[in-house]
Subunit: 263 residues, 2 copies
DNA sequence: CGTCGAGTTGAACGACTTCAACGAAAGTGG
DNA sequence: CCACTTTCGTTGAAGTCGTTCAACTCGACG
């Protein structure tokens, strides 16, 4: 975990957005939102906070914002002002190389936070795109920071959220660095399954919000390989796949595919 | 940037260390350290802090710790207590799969912070190993947290450091997900070069502290491929390589190798 | 009805891996 | 101090997994 600026490893194509827009979150001020009464409060930001702290979150009176399928919530290079919490829908976040290559760095569902990467230098490093019609809470970071000053509890929660993000990316690095196609896809599906479960949906049957190409980009492989791997799993009777509809038939087997050679 | 626990994507082999040791940093209390007089203060934690804040850091009176080459500073699964700042020497941090596969997730040099991934759940996710004799500052996290309570400046610096870590990992994901062998090695060398420069060393001639296998693991390729790529660059007159001694002959060319097809 | 994007599948290719052999350097122990 | 082993790096040859290119199906949408 070194902390130097990532000047060289990748120069994000923040020049891709010719003039990085500093637009405020359009329509964010529309509805006031209460964390205390939100059905996502155990998954989202308030998770782990005591009642008085949650009340202070409510006091912020941050707004919501609707995002249509395919629309971008923010782009790499945009000024960082808000931490976004997904209320409904699914997002992808992605990084761009100046030559146009895209790398999907994550998928986000209800209760998950987006945009923490923007803190580093005040500008978003990634672009967040809605994969379906979605809604987010837009929490002004400065307010969050004020709130954390004086509350070591709030502060710890924020720090923990960022740390989780780091750990999450570790997992992805592991995956990209030392797993083959089947392991990657298995890991992806198991992860999705668990997140569905945590949200009260069926862990064994769900609808993919992302295309084969997006899955491929996330997993560091081509869409054809993703497709083939799905087919292979189907033939091994681990999955049933119909386009974006997934049914996990043999979770045990899938987990074995995920970590095959345990010596 | 979703924030769910990484339960599935990768199960870190924290059981590898049969009984995750909760040992304190051995000998950490030996010497008191002053950030204000440290020659690394512009690279390290105090960077961006005002004088009064740095004075408060000094007030913490945290200790140092010497680590011999090959020794581990902490292991995945160890209790998270300290944030470590590298004073001298080089570290790698790595993740383990339960089947023994290792993925190097970063290299750390003087002034860089390690261990921020431990915050997520109170245990280190990665293992930090010294690649040469080294020394670190071990800063108790609880003290750091106390210090940040009441100082929004300190708080912001901490948050920014974590965010940088996230952005850094983004770069690595990009690299692992969508670059070929030559691009990876070029990116790695350019990054190293810049970090050497920031520390007052020659950016064009330096000594690698890590083996081919460690570079390979970091870049998601085999040691033989690393070796071959070095040789290829040498033949293209971009580098001169003698074991671990590197001389960058043509930085421009190397950068072109890093991002070849700019349309 | 025709077009377009998304997904599947086959065949050929190629980049990286695997296996293997070798030399140099560094540590080990008499 | 010198044989010994071990580790590290390089290089070649063969093999493999994923990519690339291409053809085709299906459903959505004007």
């Amino acid at each position: 975990m070194n902390v130097q600026a990532p000047t060289a490893l990748v120069r994000l194509a923040r020049d891709a957005a010719a003039a990085p827009s500093d637009r405020p979150a359009a329509g964010a001020a529309a509805l006031k939102t209460q964390c205390s009464s939100c059905h996502l409060r155990d998954l989202c930001l308030p998770c782990g906070l005591g009642l008085p702290e949650v009340a202070r979150l409510d006091g912020l009176g941050f707004g919501r914002r609707k995002v249509k399928a395919g629309e971008e919530l923010y782009r790499g290079g945009d000024r960082f002002q808000y931490v976004h919490a997904v209320r409904s829908g699914t997002f992808k976040s992605s990084l761009m190389l100046s030559d146009g290559r895209e790398q999907v760095s994550g998928f986000h569902m209800a209760g998950e936070l987006m945009g923490l990467d923007g803190l580093a230098n005040g500008r978003h490093a990634s672009t967040a795109t809605a994969l379906e019609d979605a809604e987010v809470c837009a929490i002004p970071y400065v307010h969050l920071n004020e709130l954390a000053t004086g509350s070591s509890e709030m502060q710890l929660v924020m720090a923990r959220l960022m740390s989780r993000e780091i750990v999450r990316e570790h997992s992805l690095m592991m995956l990209l660095g030392s797993m083959n196609a089947e392991e990657r896809v298995a890991a992806f599906l198991i992860n999705l399954s668990q997140r569905m479960k945590a949200r009260g949906y069926s862990p064994s049957e769900f609808h993919l919000r992302m295309s084969r190409a997006e899955i491929g980009s996330y997993l560091g492989m081509k869409l054809e390989t993703v497709s083939r791997t799905f087919s292979a799993f189907q033939q091994q009777r681990l999955l049933e796949v119909d386009k974006r509809h997934i049914r996990i038939v043999d979770l045990e087997g899938l987990m074995r595919a995920f970590q095959p050679q345990v010596h």
